[in-house]
Amino acid sequence: MANDTKKIGAVALTAIVIIAAIFIFYDRGPDQDLTEALGENTEFSDLFDALESTGILEGLAGSEYTILAPTDGAFDDYDTELYGDLLEDTDSLGALLNYHIIEGKYSVADISKMSTVTTLQGEVISISTTGNVTVNDVEISQSEEIECENGYIIPVGEILLPPTIESTYIDLTITDAAGREVYIKKVPERIVSIASSATETLYAINAGDLLVGRDKYSVYPEEANDLPDLGSGSSLALEETLNLNPDLVITWYYSTSAIESLEQNGITVLAIGPSSVQDVLDLITLFGQICDHEADAQAIVQDMQTTIDEISSYAESLSEDEKVKVFYELSTAFKSVSDQTFTGELIELAGGINIAADQEATYPQMSSEWIIDQNPDVVVVVSYGATTDEIKSRDGWDSIDAVLNDKVYSIESNWVSSTPRMVLGLEQFAKWFYPEHFA
């Protein structure tokens, strides 16, 4: 009789031990709520705190969600220099966290069958399965997923950034036209432009709505005139400028006093100074990059490049004899431009021979008789210089071909300066120089 009791006791004890072991060591399985699982798992302590501080945590309980959970290591690796402000602000943090939460209960296997998935934040995560399964190029693995009663916790080694946010953080370092190193972290939202070319370019790439202030020479396009006038690079209304709270100010490279004062007040300044046709195209591209209007910029640049190519290829096809001789005059009589100037480059591109091209001075003052002797085929004067009538009536100029054939023209000064309208100037030159070809 005693032997039987011992046997039953031993079996019962063993059974208890086994059952206890099973309870202790066996994965509880999908019995926990997401919030509990998160709370208990030491790997996600940062995530847990963040979810709690933003109030998202409560919303998770009891409803079905899949959480792409950044580990504490992911939080450590996070580029706080660049994106630090996102974590500090409750709203942006909340949005960031919501980008990691998907409505519904999906395992890694489920996810691997999708190409994109929409998050709570509203933006989309892209999924790829070449090789391992990745979400926004970050690996997820089945072995690491944690199943809960109301969802899955899938660890990710990096914090995921929503595309729109990512694209506003451009993290760009540029060496500007004044030789300064300029760091632009985010796409600017409040731009002040005290360089007319920049103003024009911004409107051209549809980024005009980012402007909050301009200089007195920024009068093109029309809409620019609605912006507050802040003076000019050489005499800036500093207080008013600072009052507008710009996150970027664009100036000419030679506006040294403005650059200095703005820098002293901690404003980010970008100095521009395009001096060639290519410079203007590059500037458009750069602005497209800075303002997140890359597609607009590219469209414009391509358009301009087509025109430029069309004209310059015709120019190149001409022999030296076939090219027309051009005299270009500035606002002072007989003052011209050398090939070191923007206008000089345009003349050359359009296939003209600038008779003053080789002169030493950038804006050489020529003598009237020399011009007569050179006998240019075309004379072009800038719009704020002499009138074409005055030029045609000059003493001794009646023997010049350009005057005889009535090829004396006046050109709008903005069409031959380093702005996007330079293409208009180039086209005009082409039409004047070679009217039969460019009707």
């Binding site: 002169q359 003598s367 020399w370 001794g396």
Partner: protein
């Protein structure tokens, strides 16, 4: 015995010969000015071109040169040289007048603020977009205005004290200089044109400019000669001149008006060219003496010679490009000015 009569005749004769000599040099420099330019035209051709435009023998000369040469010689170089001559003469004679009036060897025709006034007039016209052929009129008007303003400020009980005139001239000149700076600040793109006025040059001088300045030069300079004796007497001091029977106040008025008109014209046509009105009277005095009856005609010649010559340098030195002639005259002028200061106590002594 002292041969005073002989000496006197000698001097008269010598001075007359010097005048002739200067006239001859002027003639040659003028021809040189027409012959020289960035476009090389041989002297023979130049002479032929000139001859072919003379009334009687002109038709006899066969044209063997390109048509552009004709334009260059007759429409570019000839008027330019003529304007240079007249401006040089005008500024020099005006300088003599000013030095006489102020009894000060450092006086120049710009001492009453004319150049600043004229520059302002031009700058204002340029900024307002006034049509090109009226810009000189603006310059002239303001030059003249400046002189009258300065004169009015210095007039006390019907008399003008020269020291007051000098000081008010400086004040008014500063005032207009400030206005010119303002014009330049507001000018933006037209800035270059304004700078031209302040540096002075003949590169845009054509027949229009000749016609503008010719009547004034022809009228004003003989009046100066007419006043030679009065100016001579004023060298002794205003009171002494009065005691010799000279109407000092009227002389001052006339000289100031003439200066305003003559210099106003020069500034209107070719901007402010410095140092000519200051140096040439001195150089001329060294050659022919201080008697205004000889000094003024001689200054016409020496002024013309100097101006044409410096203009040749201005347009040849970096040809085919040009330098403003004011730079050349200043480069000549500054060392000369310093030389003048150093020589103050010498035998020529002032």
């Amino acid at each position: 015995m002292h041969n005073i009569d002989g000496y006197y005749q000698d001097i008269k004769h010598k001075r007359f010969m010097l005048l002739i000599g200067l006239l001859i040099i002027l003639f040659f420099v003028t021809v040189l000015g027409i012959m020289v330019g960035p476009v090389f035209i041989s002297p023979k051709v130049v002479l032929k071109i000139l001859a072919s435009n003379l009334p009687l023998i002109g038709d006899d000369i066969v044209q063997t040169w390109p048509g552009t040469y004709n334009s260059i010689v007759m429409d570019v170089r000839l008027p330019r040289v003529l304007v240079g001559l007249m401006v040089g003469a005008g500024l020099s004679v005006a300088g003599c007048g000013m030095q006489g009036l102020f009894r000060n060897p450092m006086a120049s025709p710009y001492v009453t603020g004319i150049s600043s006034g004229g520059a302002f007039g031009a700058a204002l016209a340029v900024n307002l977009g006034i049509i090109y052929y009226l810009v000189p009129a603006f310059a002239f008007f303001f030059s003249a205005m400046t002189v009258f303003l300065v004169y009015a400020i210095s007039m006390v009980r019907g008399k003008v004290r020269m020291e007051t005139l000098l000081l008010s001239g400086i004040a008014v000149a500063s005032f207009f200089s400030a206005l010119v700076s303002l014009m330049m600040y507001l000018a933006a793109q037209k800035l270059e044109s304004i700078v031209f006025w302040m540096m002075g040059g003949f590169w845009a001088s054509g027949w229009d400019e000749v016609m503008i300045i010719l009547p004034f030069v022809i009228v004003c300079i003989p009046i100066y000669i007419f006043l030679s004796r009065d100016l001579n007497a004023m060298m002794l001091g205003e009171d002494a001149a009065r005691d010799l029977g000279i109407d000092v106040e009227t002389t001052k008025k006339i000289v100031l008006v003439l200066t305003a008109i003559l210099v106003g014209c020069c500034v209107a046509v070719s901007g402010t060219i410095g140092f000519v009105g200051l140096i040439i009277p001195h150089i001329t005095r060294i050659i022919v003496g201080p008697d205004h009856r000889v000094l003024i005609p001689a200054s016409v010649f020496t002024g013309g010679i100097f101006m044409i010559f410096t203009d040749i340098v201005a347009r040849m030195i970096i040809q085919p490009s040009e330098l403003p002639v004011g730079i050349i005259t200043s480069l000549c002028g500054v060392p000369f000015f310093l030389y003048l200061l150093r020589r103050r106590k010498s035998s020529m002594g002032w």
